[in-house]
C-alpha cells in the first residue's frame, strides 16, 4: 500500500486497474475497475490510509471514477464572452468543482487561436471543442478516447439542434435552454452516445413535445375552467 499520494501527482498517473480499498476497517464500498485497452494489463492496488480517506471519502471515489471511466465526462456550451449556455455532468463533480472547471476551461478554450486543432490537453483529460458561430461546444473525454469521433458527436448534436429550431442561433438556446437539454438527453446518456439517427432523435422529441401540448390543451379545456369556477 502506498502512503498518502500528493494531489497533483495523481492527475498524471495512468492506471490499468485500481482497487480502492480502505485500511483499518473504515466503512466504504470497495471500488474495482479494470481497464484493459492498454497493451498490458497490470494491476495496481492503491491503499489510502483510513485517516486520509475519512477526511473526504467522496473525493477519492469521485476522483477514481473520473480517472478510470472512458466516457464523456461533461458537456459545456459557452459563448465567446464566457457565458454558460448549457452544462451537463456525467462524472461526479461537486458544485464547487463545477464552477472551478468552467472558469478554468473557459479561459483555456476562449484563448485558443482560430486555426488550431480542436483538441486541448487539460488536467490529464482531453477536451474536444468546436466553435459554431458565437458558441463553443466542448466535450471532455479521456486521453485514450477517439477525439475525431467526439467531433462528429458534437456535429451530430448541432445538426439536430439546427433541425429542431430551424437554423439555430444562440438566442434559441438561451430562451429554450430546457429544450436543448431535452435534445441532449436523447443524444447522450451516462456519457455515451445513445442514438446515431438524427431522424429518430427528432421523432422522439416531437412525440414528447406533443404529449406536453396535449396536456396544455387539456388544462385549458372548458371543463377544467368550469371545474375551477365551481370549486
Amino acid at each position: 500500500p502506498l502512503s498518502k499520494p500528493a494531489q497533483t501527482q495523481i492527475y498524471q498517473i495512468r492506471f490499468e486497474s485500481v482497487e480502492l480499498f480502505v485500511n483499518e476497517g473504515f466503512k466504504l464500498s470497495k471500488y474495482k475497475y479494470r481497464n484493459r485497452s492498454a497493451a498490458t494489463a497490470a494491476e495496481i492496488r492503491i491503499g489510502i490510509p483510513a485517516s486520509v480517506l475519512s477526511e473526504n471519502p467522496d473525493f477519492y471515489l469521485d476522483f477514481f471514477f473520473r480517472l478510470l471511466s472512458r466516457m464523456i465526462h461533461f458537456v459545456l456550451l459557452i459563448s465567446r464572452q464566457g457565458k454558460v449556455r448549457l452544462t451537463k455532468w456525467y462524472s461526479p463533480y461537486s458544485q464547487k468543482e463545477r464552477t472551478k472547471v468552467i472558469r478554468e476551461l473557459g479561459g483555456v478554450i476562449l484563448n485558443r487561436g482560430p486555426k488550431l486543432c480542436n483538441f486541448v490537453d487539460w488536467r490529464g483529460f482531453k477536451v474536444v471543442y468546436k466553435r459554431y458561430a458565437s458558441l463553443y461546444f466542448c466535450m471532455c473525454i479521456d486521453q485514450d478516447d477517439n477525439e475525431l469521433e467526439v467531433l462528429e458527436i458534437i456535429h451530430h448534436f448541432v445538426e439536430i439542434l439546427d433541425r429542431y429550431f430551424g437554423s439555430v442561433c444562440e438566442l434559441d438556446l438561451i430562451f429554450n435552454f430546457h429544450k436543448a437539454y431535452y435534445i441532449l438527453d436523447e443524444l447522450l446518456l451516462a456519457g455515451e452516445l445513445q442514438e446515431s439517427s438524427k431522424k429518430t432523435v427528432a421523432r422522439l422529441i416531437a412525440a414528447q413535445d406533443s404529449l406536453v401540448e396535449t396536456a396544455k390543451e387539456q388544462a385549458s379545456s372548458i371543463s377544467n375552467i368550469i371545474a375551477q369556477a365551481t370549486k
Binding site: K32, Y33, R34, S37, E149, E152, E195, V212, A219
Partner: protein, 548 residues
C-alpha cells in the same frame, strides 16, 4: 384559467435578466424572482410549479444558489402528468448532484416510473438514473433496469443499456447479472440498440473478466459479421455521414473487437479480414472516415500481431502525419506514441515529419510532437535529434521554450556519447535559452567540465566565444565566468588546443574585462556578480600584470 400563461413567464424573466446593465441590477432581478418562487413553494402552489422550476434552472446556470428548489423537483417528479415529470427530472439532473442526500428520496418515484405504462415516462426515469444515480440507488433499481433491457420498445432498450453502464460502474459486483441480456442486444438490428449494446459489453469487459471471456467466446464472430454488414451496407440515408453508414457504430464495434482480440490469437485471427477491409476501403477525406481509420489503427495495434495489418496501420499513421489538417496530425502523433511499444522501428522512420511538428504553430501539436520525440531518442539517433531540437529552440516562443529546454537538457544528459558533445550541446542551449535552464542542470555542467581535464582549455575558449555574443542569457554568463576564473590562463595561452579548434587571441586584460562586464551589466543578479568577483580573485593571483 390557463396555468401556463399568467404570471412572469420564463421568457419574460430571461429578457429582464438579459437587459440588466450591471451585475448589481441582475442580482436584484434574480433576488426578486427567487423571493416570488420561494413564496410559491411555501404556499405549495400547484399552478406555477412547472414554470418556477424552469426559472430556477435558468438562475442556476447563471451561478446563483438554488438549493431551496430541490424539493420542487421531487414534487414534480411525483406528479402524474408527463410535462411535470419531464421538467422535474430535468431539474433533478441540473440542480442536484449524486452527493446530495435529497437524491435518495427520488428512488421510490423512479421505481414507479420505471414500471409506468407510458414508455416516455420510463425513458425519463432511465435517463435520470443513468446520469445521476448514486451507488445505493444503482443497487436498488438494478433489477428494474435489467428487466427493461428486454422491453418491447427499442428506445427503452437502448436507454436501459446505457443506464446499465452506470450501474456496473457504481456497483461492479452486479456486472455478472448483465452479461446475458447484454449479449442478446448484440444480435439486434436497431442501430440505437446496437450502439448502446456494444458499449455496454465493452464496459462489462472492463469490469468483469468473466464477461470478457464470455463475449470473446460467444460473440466475436457475430460482431465481426455485424461490422462486415455495416462496411458493405448500401446507402442508408438515415445513418449516412459523409458517405459512410453509421460511423458511430463502426467505431464502437472496432472498440469492442479491440478488447476481445487483445491477448487472444484466435479472436484476433477472426477479425483480421474485416480490419484489413476497413483500413483499405474507408475513405479518408472527411472527418467521419478518419475517425473510423483512427479507431481501426488502434485496434490493429492492440490485438495479436499480424504483420500485414501492422504495416497497413503504420502506413495510415504516416499519411495522417503529413495531412494538412491539424486535427489529423494531432491524432497521428497520439497514436504513434502508443505504436512505439508495438513497433519502434516503424515509428523511427517518421522521425523527420515528427520533428517538423515540433516547430508547428499549434501549441497542442508541438507539445505532443515533443513528447513523442523524447520517446524516440536512443544512443544511435541522439545526435541528429538533438541538433534538430536545438534548431527548434531558436524558433520557439517563450511558453514552449521552457518545456523544450528541459527536454533537451534531459536527453543530452541521459544519452550523451562523449563529454565534448555534451559540453557543445549544453553551450548551444545556454546561448539560446540559458534563462530557462534549471540550476541543477548548469551545476551539473560545471561538474562535468571540471572533471574533464583534457577539455578545460576547450571549454573555457568555447565559453568565452559564446559569452561575446549572448550576454543576455544569465546562466551562460555564470558558467562562462566560472570557467574564466578557473582556467583563465589556458584561455590566454591557448593551452590544450584540440585539432578542431581555431586559434583565438585573448589577452589577460581581455579576460579581466569580460569579468568586469559581467559585474557591471544591468541584468546581472547577485549570484552572477558574486561568481564574477570570485573569478576575478582567482585571476588576480595568476595575472599579476592586471591586478589593478
Amino acid at each position: 384559467m390557463n396555468p401556463f400563461s399568467s404570471g412572469t413567464r420564463l421568457r419574460d424573466m430571461i429578457r429582464a435578466i438579459r437587459s440588466c446593465k450591471t451585475a448589481a441590477e441582475e442580482r436584484a432581478v434574480v433576488r426578486k424572482e427567487c423571493a416570488a418562487i420561494r413564496a410559491a413553494i411555501s404556499e405549495n402552489d400547484q399552478d406555477y410549479r412547472h414554470r418556477n422550476l424552469a426559472k430556477l434552472m435558468f438562475i442556476h446556470m447563471l451561478g446563483y444558489p438554488t438549493h431551496f428548489g430541490q424539493m420542487e423537483c421531487l414534487k414534480l417528479i411525483a406528479s402524474s402528468g408527463f410535462p411535470e415529470k419531464r421538467i422535474g427530472y430535468l431539474g433533478l439532473m441540473l440542480l442536484l448532484d449524486e452527493r446530495q442526500e435529497v437524491l435518495m428520496l427520488v428512488t421510490n418515484s423512479l421505481k414507479q416510473d420505471l414500471n409506468h405504462s407510458n414508455q416516455y415516462i420510463i425513458g425519463l426515469a432511465l435517463c435520470a438514473l443513468g446520469n445521476i444515480c448514486s451507488a445505493e440507488m444503482a443497487r436498488d433499481l438494478a433489477p428494474e433496469v435489467e428487466r427493461l433491457l428486454q422491453f418491447r420498445d427499442p428506445n427503452i432498450r437502448k436507454k436501459a443499456a446505457l443506464c446499465s453502464i452506470r450501474i456496473i460502474k457504481k456497483v461492479p459486483d452486479l456486472a455478472e447479472n448483465f452479461i446475458n441480456p447484454a449479449a442478446s442486444l448484440l444480435r439486434e438490428k436497431h442501430h440505437g440498440v446496437l450502439i448502446t449494446g456494444v458499449q455496454l459489453c465493452t464496459d462489462l469487459c472492463k469490469v468483469s473478466s468473466e464477461a470478457l471471456e464470455y463475449f470473446r467466446e460467444k460473440c466475436t464472430e457475430g460482431l465481426v459479421k455485424t461490422l462486415k454488414d455495416m462496411a458493405n451496407s448500401p446507402y442508408a440515408p438515415e445513418y449516412d455521414i459523409a458517405g459512410i453508414t453509421d460511423p458511430f457504430l463502426h467505431i464502437r464495434l472496432l472498440k469492442l473487437l479491440r478488447i476481445l482480440g487483445q491477448g487472444d490469437a484466435d479472436a484476433s485471427d477472426c477479425m483480421n479480414d474485416i480490419l484489413a477491409q476497413v483500413a483499405t476501403k474507408i475513405e479518408s477525406n472527411k472527418n467521419a472516415g478518419n475517425a473510423i481509420l483512427y479507431e481501426c489503427v488502434g485496434t490493429i495495434m492492440s490485438i495479436e500481431d499480424n504483420g500485414g495489418l501492422r504495416v497497413l496501420a503504420i502506413n495510415i499513421l504516416g499519411r495522417f502525419l503529413s495531412n494538412r489538417d491539424n486535427n489529423i496530425r494531432y491524432v497521428a502523433l497520439n497514436m504513434l506514441m502508443k505504436a512505439i511499444t508495438v513497433d519502434a522501428q516503424a515509428v523511427q522512420r517518421h522521425r523527420a515529419t515528427i520533428l517538423e511538428c515540433v516547430k508547428d504553430s499549434d501549441a497542442s501539436i508541438r507539445k505532443k510532437a515533443l513528447d513523442l520525440v523524447y520517446l524516440l531518442v536512443n544512443e544511435s539517433n541522439v545526435k541528429p535529434l538533438t541538433k534538430e531540437l536545438i534548431e527548434s529552440l531558436e524558433a520557439s516562443d517563450q511558453e514552449f521554450k521552457g518545456v523544450l529546454t528541459a527536454k533537451i537538457c534531459s536527453l543530452v544528459e541521459k544519452f550523451s556519447p562523449e563529454k565534448i558533445w555534451y559540453i557543445d550541446q549544453m553551450l548551444k542551449v545556454l546561448s539560446e535559452a540559458g534563462n530557462f535552464v534549471k540550476d541543477e542542470v548548469w551545476h551539473a555542467l560545471i561538474v562535468v567540465i571540471s572533471n574533464a581535464s583534457d577539455l578545460h582549455g576547450y571549454s573555457v575558449r568555447a565559453l568565452y566565444r559564446a559569452f561575446q555574443t549572448s550576454t543576455e542569457q544569465e546562466t551562460l554568463v555564470r558558467v562562462a565566468v566560472w570557467c574564466i576564473g578557473e582556467y583563465g590562463d589556458m584561455l590566454v595561452n591557448n593551452v590544450g588546443m584540440l585539432d578542431i579548434e581555431e586559434p583565438i587571441t585573448v589577452t589577460e586584460s581581455d579576460a579581466v574585462d569580460a569579468l568586469e562586464v559581467s559585474i557591471k551589466r544591468l541584468n546581472s543578479d547577485l549570484t552572477t556578480k558574486a561568481m564574477a568577483l570570485i573569478a576575478l580573485l582567482k585571476l588576480s593571483s595568476r595575472f599579476p600584470s592586471c591586478s589593478e
